[in-house]
């Protein structure tokens, strides 16, 4: 089985500060990490490889520093890593990013076609959850989003059965392979990498492909290929604390009704 995992290097959002005056992100102090959902995607791919044999290839689009994120994936047990990096990719929105990643996947799979593609359910720096589905659409394969469990994989029948997380409960879906799966964190627990894997990761150098290597259309990538743009980033204003009524049921209900109606009256 050949499993592809798309990963992104993101600033550790728990450490990103937003300057309240200029409304810009201060990323300088935030260390770069691998998008947490993506680590679980790699882990799941590695587990399937251990079960069915084959190979896990990791692909990332990003600056040169994203090599570190790819190395982390090698430590998690991935076999190979590819970085798609080019100045022309800068400024790509989710549409352009899915284009570039889809080209990257095709390039990496020239000799060994893919059976499964994994992505994290979303990246923590944008929370859009659009790139995975975008890749599936471009490659013309089924997409299974928000997957919290893979209950069976049948390589002969080329079939996979998963549990998709819904707002309430979950949904069991079967799909034909190849397909694309985006994962929730609860799909697995990350394992502690072995020392040999850590050593391999420390020494590993991923292949790096640019726009020319991918034969990418200049109009489909970077700012030119990105119809969306970020107008403004801001910190949501804090909501005041709610009022908590307690005591005897009848009295509380009356208080609530009185409170609501007086507020309604004020607003009118």
């Amino acid at each position: 089985m050949h499993i592809i995992v798309c990963v992104k290097q993101v600033p550790d959002t728990t450490e990103v500060r937003i300057d309240p005056e200029t409304n810009t992100l201060d990323r300088s102090s935030a260390p770069a990490i691998i998008n947490p959902y993506d680590s679980h995607a790699v882990e799941e791919a590695v587990r399937l490889k251990e079960q069915f044999g084959g190979k896990v290839s990791v692909i990332s689009m990003g600056p040169f520093s994203a090599v570190e994120a790819i190395k982390k994936c090698i430590a998690l047990g991935a076999d190979d890593g590819y970085l798609l990096s080019d100045k022309k990719f800068a400024g790509s929105d989710t549409l352009a990013t899915s284009y570039i990643l889809a080209l990257g996947i095709m390039k990496v799979c020239q000799r060994k076609p893919y059976d499964l593609i994994f992505c994290g359910k979303q990246a923590i720096d944008g929370d859009t959850a659009q790139v995975g589905p975008g890749i599936a659409r471009r490659l013309g394969i089924p997409q299974l989003t928000y997957v919290k469990n893979i209950s069976s994989v049948n390589p002969e029948q080329k079939e996979v059965k998963v549990h998709r997380k819904l707002d309430e409960g979950y949904e069991v879906v079967t799909a034909k392979m190849p397909c694309l799966i985006t994962v929730e964190k609860e799909i697995n627990q990350l394992r502690y990498s072995s020392l040999p894997d850590m050593l391999r990761a420390a020494r590993y150098q991923p292949s790096i492909y640019g726009a020319l290597d991918l034969n990418a259309d200049p109009l489909m990538m970077g700012l030119k290929g990105s119809p969306t743009s970020v107008l403004k980033i801001f910190v949501p204003t804090q909501r005041g604390q709610g009022e908590i009524l307690s005591g005897d049921g009848q009295i509380v209900v009356n208080q609530l009704i009185n409170g609501l109606s007086s507020r309604l009256a004020q607003n009118i």
Binding site: L195, P196, M198
Partner: protein
């Protein structure tokens, strides 16, 4: 067959990285194992980085390393509760290449240094704790990490694991440090615009200053405090012997709060927004606490070897020198193909002949002297403040009368004999 390296370095602080860099440059295969998320993640320093010792490893590092400000002025304060006697030195020369020293953030500097090591061929493994040394036939042959399949072998292991040095203690090279052999330091980074820092410290753009504070800053405990300027932060910290913290039941952050609210300090740090808080131990045992440095297949460097000169806040430089000297001994041992204690002993000899040991020896009694004689901090510093106060307050009394009054007061508190004794003791400890 598991990997085998020429050398394993435990700890990616400046000592370990210096050793690794030097060995890799000579073609040895080297792996550094660090428990933090990345090199420098856990490392704390005020921090003044010295140019000379860094340059011995990486010529003209200041052109590329992430530094904060070259230090052009060093100030010293003898502080009382409402006043301070101040002195210092500032020179244009320190503002020019090759500079004297720089303020740095260790998390940035160590990462850069680690990258230089990687470029030189060092393999760096982060997020991995070394739990023990692997022994065979009375020699260290490798390390056991906390990871699955976690044993790793090498001809020699460099213990650069910092002040606690669990590993050299396990080997019996030293006992657990006594509370008077380590200081507990706490510090904060306060964010301020660079122009504000430059204005308050009277600095040209980009230049830096340091203040070392003795006396009231530590609420009478044996220790010192410091204020250093970074690009857009002020580092402010205070350190005291652990024995004193315990004995007098002071909480470290209380010391820091006291320092920050001191009338001499407050205006300098006004409106500084605290962005980081650190607490870390500093070796203060000095010369007498230096453990065994060399064994079969193993050497100890940096803080792990207690190589800190507390009197002059020098630690990173001693760490780097010890790392480099250890590497040089290992390179020689590598050439003859034997890594027994006697083959590695040139490290210890060269360290003893360097200024590192000479300085530590010179001050071997200093911090102990202060601990058993708190009068140096608690009486003499206030007395000096008082003396200057009287001399400089113009109130109609003649200078001669003032001098007399000052001497009289000094002697009313202490006999001339005990004063003389204290001066002698201090001179002996520093000579």
């Amino acid at each position: 067959m598991p990997d085998k390296f020429d050398a394993i370095v435990v700890g990616a602080g400046v000592a370990g990285l210096a050793a690794a860099y030097k060995m890799a440059q000579e073609g040895l295969s080297v792996v550094v194992i660090e428990r933090g998320d990345y090199p420098g993640a856990k490392n704390v320093m005020g921090g003044v980085l010295y140019r000379a010792m860094t340059e011995e490893l990486i010529p003209e590092f200041w052109r590329e390393a992430p530094l904060q400000r070259p230090v052009v002025e060093q100030r010293f304060w003898l502080m009382d509760s409402q006043s301070a006697v101040t002195t210092g030195y500032k020179t244009k020369e320190w503002a020019m290449e090759p500079y004297n020293c720089f303020t740095v953030f260790r998390s940035q500097f160590d990462q850069w240094f680690a990258r230089k090591c990687t470029e030189a061929g060092v393999v760096i493994i982060n997020e991995t704790l070394v739990e023990s040394c692997i022994m065979e036939n009375d020699r260290v042959v490798g390390v056991r990490t906390g990871r699955p399949e976690g044993d790793l072998y090498a001809n020699v292991v460099v213990l650069a694991d910092g002040v606690n040095s669990m590993l050299s203690r396990q080997l019996g090279f030293h006992k657990e440090w006594e509370p008077r052999q380590v200081a507990l330091a706490v510090m904060e980074e306060l964010k301020l615009p660079s122009e504000v820092i430059e204005e308050r410290f009277n600095l040209d753009p980009g230049m830096g200053a340091t203040i070392e504070i003795y006396g009231d800053s530590t609420l009478g405990l044996v220790g010192t405090a410091f204020i250093y300027t970074n690009k857009e932060h002020i580092s402010i910290g205070v350190g005291t012997l652990l024995s004193q913290v315990r004995q007098l039941k002071v909480r470290p952050y209380e010391l820091l709060e006291y320092l920050k609210s001191h009338p001499m300090v407050r205006p300098l740090i006004k409106k500084g927004e605290p962005v980081e808080y650190y607490a870390h131990l500093v070796p203060e045992g000095g010369y007498k606490a230096i453990p065994k440095l060399v064994g079969n297949g193993v050497v100890v460097v940096g803080d792990a070897a207690q190589l800190v000169n507390g009197m002059h806040r020098e630690g990173s430089n001693l760490a780097m020198i010890s790392g480099r000297l250890a590497a040089e001994a290992i390179i020689m041992a590598y050439k003859i193909g034997s890594f027994e204690a006697r083959d590695l002993s040139p490290y210890e000899e060269n360290l003893r002949n360097s200024f590192v040991m000479k300085d530590l020896k010179k001050y071997k009694n200093a911090s102990h002297l202060l601990e058993v004689n708190p009068q140096y901090l608690n009486e003499y510093i206030p007395a000096t403040n008082m003396a200057l106060h009287e001399m400089l307050t113009v109130d109609g009394m003649s200078k001669q009368e003032k001098q007399k009054a000052i001497i009289k007061r000094a002697l009313s508190r202490k006999s001339l004999f005990s004063l003389g004794k204290d001066v002698y003791k201090a001179w002996k400890a520093m000579k």
